[in-house]
Amino acid sequence: MSRFALKLALWEGRNSVRRVGIYMFAISLGVAALVSVHSFREDVSRSIRQESRSLLGADVVLRSNRPLPDSVTSLVDSLVAAGHEASAAITVPTMARAPAGDAVRLVQLRGVEGGWPLYGAVRTEPVGRWGAHLEPGKALVDPAALVQLGVGRGDTLVLGGLEVEIVGSVEDLPTDVGFQTAIGPRVYVSMEDLEAAGVLGFGSLARYTRFLRIPAEADRRRLEDRYESVFEATGVGFRTSEEQAENLTEAVSALGSFLGLIGLGALLLGGIGVGSAIHVFVKERIAEVAVLRCIGARQGGVFLAYLLQAGGLGLLGSVLGAAVGVAAQQSLPTLLGSAVPVDVTPRLSPLAILGGVGVGVWVSVVFALLPLLEVRDVPPLRALRQDFDAAGPDAGRRRLDLPRALALGLLAASVLALSILEAGSWVAGAVFAGGLGALTAILWAIGTGAVFLARRTFPHRAPYVFRQGFSNLFRPQNQTVAVVLSLGFGAFIIGTVLQVQANLARNLAFDTSAGRPNLLLFDIQRDQREGVLELLPEGGADGAFELTPLIPSRLVAVNGVGRAALDSLPEGDGPERWALRREYRNTYRADLTDTEELVKGAWWEQAAPVADGVARISVDADLAEDLAVGVGDRLTWDVGGVAVESEIASLRRIDWSQFRTNFFVVFEPGALEGAPATFVVLTRIDGAEDRARFQRDLVAGFPNVSVLDVTRVQETLEDILGKVARAIRFLAGFAAFAGALVLAGAVASSRHQRQREGALLKTLGARRRQILAVLLTEYAALGTLAAATGLVLSTLAAAGLVRFVFDFSFDPAPGVLLAVWGGITLLTLVTGAVGSRDLLRRPPLPILRGE
């Protein structure tokens, strides 16, 4: 019997490729998306693994926002004495002035000592100049600095009190990750020069780093185990190359999982296509199946023959898809560009290819099972009596029996398993699969409801062509449910991706409309306040400038319990580690700003008085949650070596998306006025020219004061976000294309029936124009219904994602919705018209004679 099944499958397969080949391409697209994403993810992980040391520039890095304490520097000295190579760097944002072009820009000045980076090669222009920056008075710069400052090699840069000559640019530094240059391009000098620049004054945003070469992993572990408590107590960050690689891999995996799920969506859409193709296929073969049963074929044999065909078609489609996927894999690095932390060399990944093909075949078979079970119900007597099914006792036998229940269960389990595998987490996978299930159920219900409604609300008075087209929605073997499913699915994916993207972009964009500040001046010292204010233009942001004090502080106790004790609690108990250990920059002021909202407690005037020597503070509500504190709790701070006791008087909700000076912790006025502080001020200067002139004047008078130009930060962020969005759209395009193919297949599979219908209409005197109008009526109704349903659901899904996953506010994007709706309806009309061109062209006689 199995030999028969195989033979029949092979013989019939030739024909099936022609009949349902279009669905095969839908599977191809899904497989292509999966293979490209998985291959790319493997490429990136491999690169990160291989380059983990050069990504960090060392085996171990120690970091702090203040000079490393003696305990740590003596540890480093002892490691050096033991033969471990070390180097150091200090990075500080500061203003660079180019006397040649008279331009001024915020840069990240990096003073380097020793052979940093300890791993990885740095590419410079001219070639081989890395190291030149260690000579006194010389500097290497990021290429962006050359462009932004309008300077070239040999030109001079002024950084604070330092003058250096640019000797080259750094084209490729292995430790570069994404948006590190968002604040400003980097300028590399020797440590001595950095110190001579005088930009490390009190309150500067300098980061102090030590790099160590400790090749043996066991040595690194021992170091971490032994000194962990020292690092924690002194606020020194400790990171190994493994941790760095792991962090980067996690970030890339998260993006990979997201892209993979979109790919899986495309594949499952192809699966739905296969399911509906097999359904039509089986219906068309009922007579053949009956004949085969008459001449002695068993149910199982016929079923197996068709199942083999479905699997074979799935295999062909999947292999083709894998080839497309490998091609797409080459383009992903270009699309994502600097959003990926490493240089990626695409390499054939057998695992991704075999996995993709396997999943493609599996999806084809699993989606084909349910409709294929219909062949069991074909009675052999059908070969003698065409009407047997309707008249006989077997009519309406399509019940949910054990095999159907098993097939349904297998389908659901497969979708769930694939989702979990792709998402890389049980919860995310289950949510994704559940969402897909709900989406399919809703689309199916809408499709079925539309069939019902079209029948109930039939427009009896409408013109003939309209009535005929409308009745096609509910005629026997109509395509309504299949089209609503495939198109609705496609509309859903596109609508969701585009709306999420639009909302992310809106939320991440700083409000730079008129009246809003666009420049941030920082590192202003106490005695420079008057002078800086005089330089600011009249009016400015919201008509007034307020110098905001910035007081570096560390948390030392919560409700009298010391930080070390809290830190040693098991993870999950007590305050979050990050909130305990971070370096705070607190402020004091009298009023709430317009980006803050009081959510608990009362502002100063209304707040309850506290004991002498205790200051009242207002804390960000999210931070309070992480610190596990509320109104009335006490926090003790180390402010410049002095312990300051505070009590929480209120909690605030802060809108961080505004370009304002926002603070986790605000003290009441007077409490910290004597403490060491620097000041920041926000202002607005329109026009790039005016901004540049202002920065020049400021730097000339106050070389230590820095200016952050928000438009530049915005550009960098948008660039990165744009690249990620492009990759997502690329993958969503696969899903949309798969939806279009399933639609085209649905049109093609009902062609025979339409041809007979069209031939009859022509015989009865219908003109082509009328037949076309009948078709367009049907497809316009289908396209509109499917697109509208998919888009409404996509708005719900996008709102959920934006609100709960990204924690942003959501606005529907009506422009996007309208464009997708129009596009999909148009696509349906065009596909319908093109797929039916035969019907319009061919004379009716051959069709009626069944030729």
């Binding site: 019997m1 028969f4 024909n15 053949e288 001449i295 052999p380 003698l384």
Partner: protein, 227 residues
């Protein structure tokens, strides 16, 4: 060879029983040619279907070559047909996606008792025998009605059936072509010692039968040449 006792079939239509065949007793000897005649709706096709085990009777039983069909499952009946029965249909019922040669091979592939080359040789011989030796690789759509029915004949005889059931074998053919097909069917019947049961409207065809059974309203009204 064929034994039917008290055979009856009742369908339900609109909730009411609708008897289409009642109390048919029939005994057909080996190598006989039996024609079943009767007006439309008299139960001819139902009788043929029950005799071939395509459906289960409401009453009575059928025995083919000593095997009681009632004792078999649907799949076992299919297996029995694969070994012992051939079929010719009014509308030919060739598989449109298979060539002439492949169509003839299907019953032998179902049996799976012969090697691929043997099956191929026998199928090609049979097609040659029905005069289609030069049309082996044509699809049904590329053949005329008479040619299609000849392919169907070759298919029906390919598994060397002991019984051949034919449902209006000439119903869709003109007189001349139909005559040729019947000649061929008779010749193959003689060669293979097959018992032949056919349903027909064609009196000319019925005249060539050894025995004619007439049905009316689901009952046998005459039986010429009963043993």
């Amino acid at each position: 060879m064929i034994l039917a006792e008290g055979l009856g079939k009742t369908y339900r239509s609109g909730g009411k029983p609708l008897p289409v065949l009642q109390d048919v007793d029939l005994k057909v000897a080996p190598r006989d040619i039996l024609a079943i005649l009767g007006p439309s709706g008299s139960g001819k096709t139902t009788l043929l279907g029950l005799l071939a085990g395509l459906d289960e009777p409401t009453t009575g039983r059928v025995e083919l070559g000593g095997t009681d069909l009632q004792g078999l499952t649907e799949d076992d009946r299919a297996g029995f047909r694969a070994r012992n029965v051939g079929f010719v249909f009014q509308t030919f019922h060739l598989l449109p996606t298979l060539t002439a040669l492949e169509n003839v091979r299907v019953p032998l592939e179902l049996l799976g008792t012969e090697s691929g080359s043997e099956i191929r040789e026998r199928s090609a011989d049979l097609l040659d025998r029905v005069g289609l030796g030069d049309r082996l690789h044509h699809y049904p759509a590329q053949l005329s009605g008479g040619e299609q029915q000849r392919v169907a004949l070759a298919r029906a005889f390919s598994n060397r059936p002991r019984i051949l059931f034919a449902d209006e074998p000439t119903g869709n053919l003109d007189q001349e072509t139909g005559g040729k097909v019947v000649d061929l069917m008779e010749a193959l019947h003689d060669e293979a010692d097959t018992t032949l049961v056919m349903v027909t409207h064609d009196l000319g065809l019925a005249e060539r039968a050894h025995r004619v059974v007439r049905l009316s309203s689901g009952r046998v009204v005459s039986d010429t040449g009963a043993p």
